[in-house]
C-alpha cells in the first residue's frame, strides 16, 4: 500500500489536476474549465448524434474496430471489448431507454433485444454481440409509430417512476412475439424477473393483456 489517507489539497489531489495522457477513450479536453466550443470540436471527441430519434451529446473516439448494429444502424464501438453493452448504448450512442439497475442481471431495467430475444445488456459484453441486431426501446416504437405495448402502457397509465418500464416493455414485447396468446399465469411468469419498486404491476399486467385481447 503506497498511499495512506489523503485529504483534499495534498499531493495526490494536485497530481490529478493534470490527468494522464489521453488513452484514446477520453474527450481530450484539459482538466480545467473548458469552453463548450472547444469541447465539441475536440477532434474525434464529441458529436451531436441522433440515435433512435434522440439527439444527444455523445463521445466517439478512434474505436476498437468493433461495430454493433443498433436499431438498424451500424455504430463503431470505442469501449473496451469486455464493456457491458449497456454503457455503449447509453454513453456512446446516447440512448436513454436501457437503464442501469443492478449490473447483475437481477432486475431487468437494462433489457434490450438481440435478434428479437430479450437480454440483460448490463451483463452482455459488447464484443459478444457479433452480427446480431440490437433493438432498444427507442427502436421498438416511437410516438408517431408506437409499438402496441407502448400504446397500451400509456392507455393503462402503467408507470409511476417509470425506471423499470423499459425492461417491462422489452421483456413483454419479446415474450408476446414468441407466445402471442399467453395465459395470465404465463405473463406473470414471463415478467417475474423484472422488478418494479413503485408497484405498477397491476397496470403493467392490464396493459399486456390489453394487447393480447386486441
Amino acid at each position: 500500500m503506497s498511499a495512506m489517507k489523503q485529504g483534499p489539497g495534498d499531493d495526490l489531489q494536485e497530481a490529478a489536476r493534470a490527468p494522464a495522457a489521453d488513452s484514446g477513450d477520453g474527450d481530450g479536453a484539459g482538466p480545467r474549465r473548458v469552453p463548450r466550443a472547444a469541447f465539441i470540436s475536440a477532434g474525434v471527441a464529441a458529436a451531436a448524434a441522433v440515435a433512435g430519434g434522440t439527439a444527444y451529446l455523445v463521445e466517439r473516439s478512434r474505436g476498437t474496430g468493433l461495430t454493433v448494429n443498433v436499431n438498424g444502424r451500424d455504430h463503431p464501438v470505442a469501449a473496451a471489448p469486455d464493456t457491458p453493452l449497456l454503457y455503449v448504448l447509453r454513453n456512446e450512442l446516447g440512448l436513454r431507454g436501457p437503464r442501469f439497475g443492478c449490473g447483475l442481471a437481477e432486475c431487468g431495467a437494462c433489457t434490450v433485444h438481440l435478434d428479437g430475444v430479450a437480454v440483460r445488456s448490463c451483463v452482455t459484453r459488447v464484443d459478444s454481440v457479433g452480427n446480431r441486431q440490437v433493438t432498444t426501446i427507442e427502436g421498438l416504437g416511437t410516438p408517431s409509430n408506437p409499438h402496441p405495448l407502448q400504446k397500451a402502457f400509456i392507455d393503462q397509465q402503467a408507470a409511476q417512476c417509470g425506471y423499470c418500464i423499459n425492461g417491462m416493455l422489452m421483456t413483454a414485447a419479446a415474450f408476446l412475439k414468441s407466445k402471442p396468446r399467453p395465459t395470465d399465469a404465463e405473463i406473470k411468469s414471463a415478467l417475474a424477473g423484472n422488478l418494479c419498486r413503485c408497484g405498477s404491476h397491476y397496470r403493467i399486467l392490464r396493459a399486456v393483456k390489453a394487447v393480447i385481447s386486441a
Binding site: 441522433v50 469501449a79 437481477e106 400509456i154 425506471y163 416493455l169 419498486r197 408497484g199
Partner: protein, 773 residues
C-alpha cells in the same frame, strides 16, 4: 430571468417527446447549463412565497410556467399540481409548464415527503398562488376593458365580459413576459368545488409517454460538457468467489459498518485505461475516470484495506439490543385517565410485543448525481427531496457559502423516502471538487442498498385491558426506535458525510415530559378513543446502521403493531374485528373506510379465528385501519390470505382498500398510488428484512434482499375511493401502505389462530407461530 427562453428549454423537461423538437440542436436539451455566461452565478436563495411571481409566470403566448418546491418523485404530483393551477387560473392543462426544485427559482416548500405535496399545494401553495394571480389578472383586465372584475369571466386563459364574449383580452397580452405584480392573498377567492372541471378528473399523467418511449430525462441521464465518471469505494467485503476486476458490477459479500480506512494503494489503479484520480477524504474513497465502465473497473481494482470493528449487534438479538440500549430521548405523547388503575381493574389484560426490521428503499435505478464544483461555485443535479436542504448540506461539505451552491432537481428512480439521492449528491460533489471538473456518480447496486439510510427498526410493547363487556378500558403503548442519521440536515446525517469525516449530530433531547405532546404524527397514537391511555416513545441512537424516512416512516411499524393488537383484543373479547373497531371509534370518516373496505371484501361478521378448516390450506381474512397521523387520510384494508400450514407459505388472495384523503384531485393517479402501496406493502410484510452480521450489512443486491414479483401478487384488488371535493386534501402517497402488514397478519390469525408479531412473515416465522397454537 428570461422567461421565454426558460420555457422553451424546459419544454422537454416535462413533455418528453415534445422536447425532441428543441433537443436536436442543443447539446444540453433538458437542463439548465452548468456554468452561466458573463451574468455569473445565479442566486440560490429561495424566492419569497408571498409573491405571485415566485410561483408563476405567464408568457406572451399564454404559457403558464409554475415554479414548485414540491417535486415529482414518480407519484404523479406534477400532473396533479398542473390540474390545480389549471382549475384556479382557468387555463388549459396544455398551457402549463412546471419548473420543480431549483434553488433560487422555486419557493422553499420543504421536503417533498410524507404524502404532503397535494395537502400543501391545496392548502397553502400553488392553489393560493394561482387564485391570487387570477384576481390580479382580472383587475388588470377590468382596467383594460373598461369594466369591473365582477363582470368578467375567464375561458382558457382569455378574460372576457360575461355578457360580451367578444370584448376580451388574454392573460398573455395582459402580462406577457413580465412578472405578475401581486401578493399571494391570505384568503384568495377559490373556486367553488361544485364548479371544478379539471380537479377530480383522471387526467393522464404528462410524464408517462416519455417514460414509455425511452426519452424521459432522469437524473441518471444528465450529461454536461467535460463530464467525468466517478464511483464511490465503500468499505465492503468482496465476494471470495470473484476476484478479477471488470467493468461489470462487483459481487460482494457484505459491507463493513463503521470501518476506518487503513490504507489505499493508488498504484493498483493508476495504470488503468481512462483513470483520472483517486479521491480520499477521511474514510471517504472514490475514483474518477474518463468513461463510466472505466470508473467501475477502477473502483473494483482499487486495493484498499479497512479496519473492521465488528461492533454491530447480532441480528438475532437486535430487538433485545434496541430495548436494552440507553434511551436518548423519551416522548410522552398521551396520558389520559389512569391506565394502571384501569388495567388493575380490567376483566382481562392482554400484552404483546411487536417488532419490525430495518428495510431498504430499493429504488430500481441506483441513485445518481452530477456535480460541477469549480472556482468556489457548485452546481449539483440531484434527485433530492429538498433542494434547499441539500444545498446547505453541500455548502458545509464543500466549505462554500450557500449562495455559491446551486441544486437542480431532476427526477430519479422512485424515491420512497431518503434513498441514496442525497448521499450520492455529496459523493459527486466531493469528487468534482477534487478533480475540478464535472463528475457523474451513480451508485452501484450494493452502494445503493447496503449504504443507505434504512427504514428504522422498531419494537412496540402494547398492553390493554378489557372490561366484562369486551370494551377496551385501558391502552398502554411503548415504542422503541433505533436511529442513526436522517435527511440533510448536516452532512453527518448521511453515510457519505460521515465517511468524509463530518460529525454525526447528537440525538435530539427529550421534550418536557409534561404536558404530553399530544401526538407525534407517527401513528404511535391509537386511531380509537379509549377512556384511559398512555403513549410513550423512546429514541435510541446507536452507531449501528444508518436510518432515515422510508415510505410511511415509523407509521407503518406503529400501525402494524396497533392494528394487530386491536385484532388480538377483538379475539379475546370474542368480537368480530370490524364490529370491535367500530365500537371503539366515534369518528364517522374512520368508520366509513372500515365499513367500505369490509363491504368491498364481502366481509362476513364473526369473531376470529375462523376455525373448522381441515387440511393444510387455511383461509382467513383480516382488517386494519388507521386515521393516518391523527390528522391525515383515513384508510382501511381487508386482506384475504391462504396459509399453507405445512410449508408456512402465505398466499395473498385478495386486497380491498377503502381510502378517504379528502378532495381527490386525480382519481386514477390516486388508484395508481394505492395499488403501489398495496404491492410494496405486501412485499415488505412478506419478504423484506435487511440482513447483517457483526461486521456489516449482508443485503447487497436483489438476491440477498428479494422483493415481491409478479407471480406472488394477488389477482383480486379492490379499491374504494371516497371523495370529499369540499374538504382539504390529506395526502395519498403512503397512508395505505401502513395498514397492509396488520391486515395480512390478522388474516393469518383468522386462518390459523397463529399470531404473527414480527415482520416479515417468512415461512419459518409462520411455522414457528403455528407451533404455539
Amino acid at each position: 430571468m428570461n422567461l421565454e427562453q426558460l420555457t422553451t428549454s424546459r419544454r422537454g423537461f416535462l413533455r418528453g417527446m415534445g422536447g425532441l423538437v428543441v433537443a436536436v440542436s442543443l447539446p444540453l436539451p433538458n437542463w439548465p447549463r452548468p456554468v452561466l455566461a458573463a451574468g455569473g452565478f445565479p442566486p440560490t436563495a429561495p424566492p419569497s412565497p408571498d409573491q405571485v411571481s415566485s410561483w408563476l409566470a405567464i408568457a406572451r403566448d399564454g404559457t403558464v410556467t409554475v415554479f414548485t418546491g414540491k417535486v415529482e418523485l414518480g407519484t404523479g404530483v406534477a400532473t396533479a399540481t398542473m390540474q390545480i393551477v389549471a382549475e384556479e387560473l382557468d387555463v388549459p392543462l396544455s398551457a402549463i409548464k412546471l419548473v420543480q426544485g431549483v434553488t433560487g427559482k422555486t419557493v422553499d416548500q420543504g421536503y417533498t415527503a410524507g404524502s404532503q405535496s397535494m395537502r400543501t399545494q391545496w392548502a397553502r401553495g400553488v392553489r393560493q398562488a394561482a387564485a391570487s394571480a387570477r384576481e390580479a389578472l382580472l383587475q388588470l383586465a377590468a382596467a383594460r376593458l373598461g369594466t369591473t372584475p365582477d363582470r368578467l369571466a375567464v375561458t382558457a386563459g382569455v378574460v372576457h365580459l360575461q355578457d360580451q364574449p367578444g370584448r376580451k383580452v388574454s392573460y398573455g397580452a395582459l402580462v406577457g413576459g413580465k412578472p405578475i405584480a401581486a401578493k399571494v392573498a391570505a384568503r384568495p377567492r377559490l373556486k367553488d368545488p361544485g364548479t371544478f372541471t379539471v380537479v377530480g378528473k383522471s387526467v393522464r399523467r404528462e410524464d408517462i409517454p416519455a417514460k414509455v418511449f425511452g426519452t424521459f430525462t432522469y437524473v441518471q441521464d444528465v450529461k454536461v460538457p467535460g463530464m467525468l465518471h466517478g464511483r464511490v469505494v465503500r468499505p465492503v467485503r468482496p465476494s471470495p468467489l470473484v476476484s478479477t476486476p471488470t467493468p461489470r458490477a462487483q459481487v460482494i459479500q457484505g459491507t463493513i459498518a463503521n470501518a476506518t480506512l487503513q490504507a489505499v494503494d493508488e498504484s493498483s489503479v493508476r495504470h488503468l485505461p481512462g483513470f483520472v484520480q483517486l479521491v480520499t477524504r477521511h474514510d471517504f474513497v472514490g475514483v474518477v475516470a474518463r468513461r463510466e465502465e472505466q470508473a467501475i473497473a477502477a473502483a473494483q481494482a482499487l486495493r484498499v484495506s479497512w479496519t473492521d470493528k465488528a461492533a454491530l449487534p447480532d441480528q438475532q438479538s437486535l430487538y433485545e439490543a434496541i430495548t436494552s440500549a440507553h434511551v436518548d430521548n423519551t416522548k410522552v405523547l398521551s396520558v389520559v385517565g389512569d391506565v394502571d388503575a384501569a388495567l388493575a381493574s380490567a376483566a382481562r389484560v392482554m400484552k404483546a410485543t411487536y417488532a419490525h426490521p430495518y428495510q431498504i428503499h430499493g429504488s430500481i435505478g441506483p441513485s445518481c448525481a452530477v456535480a460541477d464544483v469549480r472556482d468556489g461555485q457548485a452546481t449539483v443535479w440531484s434527485g433530492t427531496q429538498g433542494v434547499y436542504q441539500l444545498r446547505n448540506a453541500l455548502a458545509t461539505l464543500l466549505g462554500l457559502p450557500a449562495d455559491n451552491v446551486r441544486v437542480v432537481y431532476v427526477e430519479g428512480s422512485g424515491c420512497y423516502g431518503l434513498n441514496g439521492a442525497d448521499d450520492v449528491s455529496l459523493s459527486a460533489a466531493l469528487l468534482s471538487q477534487a478533480v475540478g471538473r464535472p463528475v457523474r456518480v451513480q451508485h452501484m447496486r450494493a452502494d445503493e442498498m447496503s449504504w443507505e439510510n434504512f427504514g428504522t427498526p422498531m419494537v412496540i410493547q402494547l398492553e390493554a385491558g378489557l372490561d366484562a363487556s369486551g370494551r377496551i378500558v385501558g391502552w398502554s403503548y411503548q415504542g422503541w426506535t433505533a436511529n442513526r442519521g436522517n435527511r440533510p440536515g448536516p452532512p453527518g446525517n448521511l453515510p457519505a458525510g460521515v465517511l468524509a469525516g463530518f460529525p454525526e449530530p447528537p440525538p435530539p433531547p427529550s421534550p418536557p415530559s409534561w404536558p404530553p405532546l399530544g401526538d407525534d404524527s407517527l401513528n404511535s397514537m391509537p386511531s380509537y378513543a379509549f377512556p384511559n391511555q398512555k403513549v410513550v416513545s423512546y429514541g435510541v441512537y446507536q452507531p449501528w446502521l444508518f436510518t432515515g424516512p422510508l415510505r410511511s416512516p415509523s407509521r407503518l411499524q406503529n400501525t402494524f403493531a396497533n392494528e394487530s393488537f386491536m385484532d388480538e383484543l377483538a379475539a379475546a373479547a370474542g368480537a368480530d374485528p370490524v364490529d370491535f373497531r367500530l365500537r371503539h371509534t366515534g369518528d364517522p370518516r374512520l368508520a366509513t373506510v372500515i365499513r367500505r373496505a369490509a363491504e368491498a371484501a364481502g366481509w362476513r361478521t364473526r369473531p376470529s379465528p375462523a376455525g373448522g378448516q381441515g387440511g393444510n390450506r387455511r383461509r382467513g381474512r383480516g382488517i386494519a385501519a388507521v386515521h393516518y397521523e391523527g390528522t391525515s387520510s383515513y384508510v382501511a384494508a381487508v386482506i384475504t390470505a391462504t396459509v399453507d400450514t405445512g410449508s408456512g407459505a402465505i398466499t395473498v388472495d385478495q386486497v380491498a382498500v377503502a381510502h378517504d384523503c379528502g378532495v381527490i384531485i386525480n382519481p386514477d393517479g390516486l388508484r395508481n398510488q394505492i395499488e403501489g402501496n398495496i404491492v410494496q406493502g405486501l412485499s415488505r410484510a412478506l419478504k423484506e428484512e435487511v440482513r447483517f452480521d457483526r461486521s456489516g450489512v449482508l443485503s447487497v443486491d436483489w438476491s440477498s434482499y428479494p422483493i415481491i414479483t409478479f407471480p406472488e401478487l394477488p389477482d383480486d384488488v379492490r379499491i374504494e375511493l371516497i371523495d370529499h371535493p369540499g374538504l382539504p386534501a390529506l395526502g395519498a402517497g403512503e397512508a395505505s401502505i401502513s395498514v397492509i402488514a396488520g391486515a395480512l397478519g390478522n388474516a393469518v390469525f383468522d386462518a390459523t389462530g397463529a399470531r404473527l408479531r414480527q415482520v416479515p412473515f417468512t415461512p419459518d416465522r409462520v411455522k414457528a407461530a403455528l407451533s404455539t397454537v
